[in-house]
Symmetry: C2
Subunit: 432 residues, 2 copies
């Protein structure tokens, strides 16, 4: 068993780096705004290095700033069994998404260390850079570079989406350099291979809580793509330009967003616009340019492609037929992620561990099984890892299914339960 | 007659202060970004003081930064006949909107000066601060304070809508102080009364050009109101939040904008959204808050009120019934401007002057009348002035009716024609 008190204390103390958006009265009742590679991310990264060294672990930082912590086993010529997640957050993020996965991984290493447990091969922890894609709009980009799915240069050149006031948008590489985490080790599965990748994450959905369950064992993740849509019209005077003479980029973009929601319903998928910018931005002048994002998801790759095609048709129709004198619309793909199936061996290790851990609660629950298989609605670094090594995930209960919001919450009991499941799964997988 | 060459040279040379957005190859083929009270506005204001002094005119600056230039007449105990417009522009503005009115007024003073023409009473020029409402979102705010329509403190406290990178939003008063144009004279029609207010402005619509006409004589302006709409929902994860569980502020705002356009069509009015901001602004997180503006116009005060009421109903419906788990919507009024009728005496003076000036072209035009009465689609400082003194406006031809865009254009001939009409109208009104 992990040390639950230490796990929770560690989690909350690291949230001092980047805490924001208080929502309750207790000092831990705040959210987070630790955007990738900002000064708070730098601080928590230095903290992680210290903790790893205190356990006698080796730390390497690769060219994407991914941090690998290695605890040697009996045979160190074989690749390590890794636990990983991310320490970056959304601008209005919470204390669990990503953070729980890294801190629980560290707690597993601490538990192995204090019990002097010798594993067969090395066991380790990875903190993946910019998982959220909230600052640099390429989600899970650093595990993707590791997996050979995205070229290093493309990732390095990714520009931040909301520049700091008074500055030009920085690239991911510039910010890695600035905070001192541009490592020399290539970000590559060939250079730093893994025997397996296990990840705890909050569910971010309501199924566990609604079902009175303790643990989710994730068998795969839905497909999702991100796009930026640019709509170009003509700026002109709001008081003197008849409706029929307009090329109003903002009105056209609003119509497109409404249409994209209809497409999502038609295909039983999800489409969301989270960013919307209009230029020049003056009350009595029509916008000449609007840029907005589209986050499109579906459990089926094929249905996702169809849903996105429908959006393209609908947007073209708005641009040509429903915008008076017409606007132009241009799509840029930010990321495309196929649906993922996780590894049977990893899933089996988690199942065995979950059986054991959940047994604690099953008497009180009248013998009811307290874990279930789930599919992830969100993308995770494990999806990229799974392309190059056996991978699977453990989901922890999420209050009201809410995440990417300051009051996202996973109870201490649920955090600890998931960490115990992780510990058991890693020890089992290493043994096997 | 004014000196047309000097008029055009002066106009373009002052556009060096704040020129932006080149659209052609000639050095004058650029737009403007001279937002109220920025450094370029400061420079052009200092330039205006010098020019006025060179003509032996007195200059006063009031508490709103309005600049009054006075040329004495025979009897200086009576209020002056004023010409006025504004030197501030839209962020993607052109070289004529406002600027032509001030520079033509200066040219009239220069013409009177070089002919040593003595007027009955004083004649003057006023440069109204922040007419556009593009930086501080209260349109024609400074003539409104002068007319006693808006309290000084309300205007002073108005915050800029797009803060400079790296700074807090500044108030109008802070910026007046910063550029040294916070005058001591009260901004008030009781302290600085006017005998009349004449304003040249580009038409900003297509009627003159389409009709092959030279001059518009403006008999009034339509009513218009500005609002800021705040939509509050809940930020949550784009990949794990089912559509049915959402409180998506951005989608709701998009629906409202689409509905507002329907309301505009229903009432044959105009509704425009020029500013739209979504927070927190992350691809995979729904916005918790969206703020957008509404610019609503109608020739009839009553129909405008009805059209805005319809928007309120439609937005409420979107918020309550068409946004899954619902959003909240809050309206803030930024400005409300009733429809205006200009003064018959001022209109008559312009008509007589226009008859004389247009006679130059009427032979070539086969005796066709080359001026027409028009109603303004845009608001102008003359609308506020008209509440406290006889007022009327002269419209100049606008290429393709386009304004609030860098390539807004009024030909030298049309600029000069309007200035000649202004000269004749002012001299006649003063005489009468
Ligand atoms: N888990 C998570 O929020 N990851 C970000 C990638 C996504 O948007 O699905
Ligand atoms: N003429 C002009 O563009 N004035 C600004 C006020 C308005 O939006 O009507």
């Amino acid at each position: 068993r992990v040390n639950g008190t230490r796990l929770m204390e560690t989690l909350h103390s690291t949230c001092e780096f980047g805490k924001a958006h208080p929502w309750g009265t207790h000092e831990t009742e705040t959210g987070m705004a630790r955007l990738a590679l900002n000064d708070d991310d730098k601080r928590v990264r230095h903290w992680l290095i210290e903790q790893a060294k205190a356990l006698g672990c080796k730390v390497t930082v690769d060219q994407m700033g991914n941090m690998f912590v290695f605890r040697p086993g009996k045979n160190n010529t074989i690749p390590p069994v890794m636990m990983g997640s991310h320490l970056d957050t959304q601008p209005t993020g919470g204390r669990y998404d990503g953070i729980l996965g890294v801190i629980a991984g560290l707690e597993v290493l601490r538990t192995l260390h204090e019990h002097d447990h010798q594993t067969e091969g090395p066991v380790g922890l990875v903190n993946w850079t910019n998982e959220e894609g909230a600052r640099f709009p390429m989600v899970t980009v650093s595990s993707a570079v590791w997996a050979g799915e995205i070229p290093l240069e493309t990732a390095w050149n990714c520009k931040e989406v909301t520049p700091t006031a008074g500055q030009k948008p920085q690239t991911l590489k510039q910010e890695l350099e600035r905070i001192g985490f541009l490592g020399e080790v290539p970000a590559s599965y060939t250079v730093q291979p893994m025997a397996a990748h296990f990840e705890i994450h909050i569910e971010q959905g309501p199924i566990l809580e609604d079902g009175g369950l303790k643990v989710g064992i994730v068998t795969g993740a839905q497909a999702y793509n991100w796009y930026e849509i640019e709509v170009k019209g003509r700026d002109s005077h709001a008081g003197t330009t008849p409706l029929s003479a307009r090329r109003d980029a903002l009105l056209a973009a609003a119509k497109m967003i409404v249409e994209s929601n209809k497409a999502a319903k038609e295909f039983s998928g999800l489409v969301t616009t989270g960013i919307f910018r209009a230029e020049p931005g003056s009350v009595n002048t029509m916008a000449h340019t609007v840029r907005f994002t589209l986050d499109a998801r579906h459990p089926s790759d094929e249905q996702l492609a169809k849903m996105v095609s429908r959006c393209r048709e609908l947007f073209e129709k708005v641009a040509k037929e429903e915008s008076e004198r017409g606007v132009e619309v241009k799509w840029t793909t930010l990321t495309e992620n196929m649906a993922v199936q996780f590894d049977k061996g990893c899933i089996a290790a988690i199942e065995e561990s979950a059986d054991e851990v959940c047994a604690r609660f099953e008497e009180a629950a009248g013998g009811r099984k307290l874990w279930t298989h789930l599919t992830s609605g969100a993308g995770h670094d494990s999806c990229n890892a799974s392309k190059r090594c056996p991978s699977a995930m453990i989901f922890a209960v999420t209050r009201e299914g809410m995440s990417h919001t300051p009051d996202e919450y996973c109870s201490p009991e649920d955090c600890i339960t998931s960490a115990d499941v992780l510990l058991g799964a890693v020890v089992r997988y290493d043994k096997a």
